[in-house]
């Protein structure tokens, strides 16, 4: 299997990372060599193997589903690149 430029463009859309032609070609080369290495897994027959979902063989602890008002609006927006004191500001999405 090989990853072509069309696939790179598709993944870049899904990842929300813009790539130009030059970067796409470099990525195609890198990803092909990485996937060649990954395809070693096809040597193994795993038809009857259950996938691992957690390394810890314990059940997760439950906690009560409580609403906590911590009054941290200011802290939450403190690091935003653009805000108007109450909300995050983004480029216009509706006309």
């Amino acid at each position: 299997m090989s990853i072509d430029l069309k696939t790179i463009k598709h993944i870049s859309k899904l990842s929300r990372i813009s790539v130009d032609e030059q970067k796409a070609e470099k990525l195609a080369g890198d990803l092909n060599s990485i996937f060649k290495f990954i395809e070693k897994l096809n040597e193994l027959n795993t038809d009857k193997v259950e996938p691992l979902t957690s390394v810890a063989e314990t059940t997760l602890k439950f906690r009560s589903d409580e609403v906590k008002n911590q009054n941290i609006r200011e802290q939450i927006i403190k690091n935003s690149p653009e805000d108007n004191e109450d909300f995050f500001v983004v480029p216009k999405v509706v006309e």
């Binding site: 990853i3 696939t7 790179i8 993944i11 870049s12 899904l14 990842s15 929300r16 990372i17 813009s18 790539v19 990525l27 890198d30 990803l31 060599s33 990485i34 290495f37 990954i38 395809e39 070693k40 897994l41 096809n42 040597e43 193994l44 795993t46 193997v49 259950e50 996938p51 691992l52 979902t53 957690s54 390394v55 810890a56 314990t58 997760l60 602890k61 906690r63 941290i72 802290q75 939450i76 403190k78 690091n79 935003s80 690149p81 653009e82 995050f88 983004v90 480029p91 216009k92 999405v93």
Partner: protein
Amino acid sequence: MSDITSQSLTSLVKNIKEKKLSSEEITKAFVDRSEKSKELNSYITEDFSNAIDKSKKFDEKPNLDLKLPGIPMAVKDLFCTKDIRTTAGSKILENFVPTYESTVTQNIWNEGAILLGKLNCDEFAMGSSNETSFYGNVQNPIDRGLVPGGSSGGSAAAVSGQLTPITIGTDTGGSIRQPASFTGTVGLKPTYGSCSRYGIVAFASSLDQAGPMSQNVEDCALLQEVISTYDNKDSTSIDFNRGQYSKDLTKDIKGKKIGIPKEYRVEGMPKEIEELWKKGIEYAKDCGAEIIDISLPNTSYALPTYYIVAPAEASSNLARYDGVKYGFRAKGENLIDMYEKTRSEGFGAEVQRRIMIGTYVLSSGYYDAYYLKAQKVRKLIKNDFDEAYKKVDAILTPSTPSSAFKIGEKKNDPVSMYLNDIFTVPVNLAGLPAISIPAGLDAAGYPLGLQIIGKAFQEQEILNLAYAMEDKINFKNKITDWWIK
């Protein structure tokens, strides 16, 4: 070399408790040496003047019952520290100042330690050489032009170069143990669920663990005792009986069964590594341990599995960097364009590569072939360890397939860079604890490490084995202070 900065953590704690040294004297000594060590590029953010102020405050009213009384400490820049910039080695978090503290660092400050600054690392902990950091590569104190390993490269260099008495790193596929091995220091990756992940910048959540990096095993045990706590803020934190690791540390390992997995004899492994491993086996025997040959048949599938699972989790975790809530934002013509440019300009090449791999293996049509397949193989790898631990108490292997390499040597070949983690990655996939201890030098005088892998939650067992072997090995690091003018 200052007689303060060359002391172990244990000895500094003792000196403070016996009032032979003050926190201020110790803090100033490490600040002074850190100031002279800019060429190592260990720090991303320094907090030296605050550290000295805090040390003075500590001395005014010293609480000597604490485990780390007035001890200065720099930490990896992947731990969120309240009001102190936390970058994860990335441009995208260049101006990020957390409004909260990670549980692991909070545990450290609660025991009296003082923050010196934030240490360099590979961007989002993705790398094995510290060359993917937006803040530049780190020099290994062992020799000029040598990588310190990664991703906790700044941490390893800071301990080895004596810029901090001890530190913490994080380990997703070897990021504590490989740099420890490259710099002649000790590094412990605890059992998954031992140390809280709350407030650690996430890379691959089912693999990430924080752990101590130190000059010796005794220091390592003490810090592990401090950082390992059950935490309800991390849903995968496990409530188990944590030991008094430093108090219960013993060199008596008579009769312990140590497994030697034949699959770790990989093709093309340098003779020096093979020799080191043989020597390690002899040391273990000298300590009274019993050596047993074992098999971990799926070892060679661990790295390909890791390079599906880790990028898949990373692509999901890093979706949060969208230029809206925090971090860097690029200008865009519309919302989508802003997202795409922000992530393209804000993330470095290796991080973008891994996000793309992860997105691909999770995408429609490929999920079963890659991600599900990898989760099945991960189960087989864990089963291998479960089977081996019916016969042995711990497993001894080399930490890395080579000593530290030159800066730039592997930068353009991702697969050869990934091969660095061949001995460390299986441990993360199975969620086990493992420690790397320095065990010898190669022909060039560069350190080589041995790894002891334990059963889940048996940190005490591997610390004891490491403590006993450390005594026999009697390793001496060759640090010449070449970077200090």
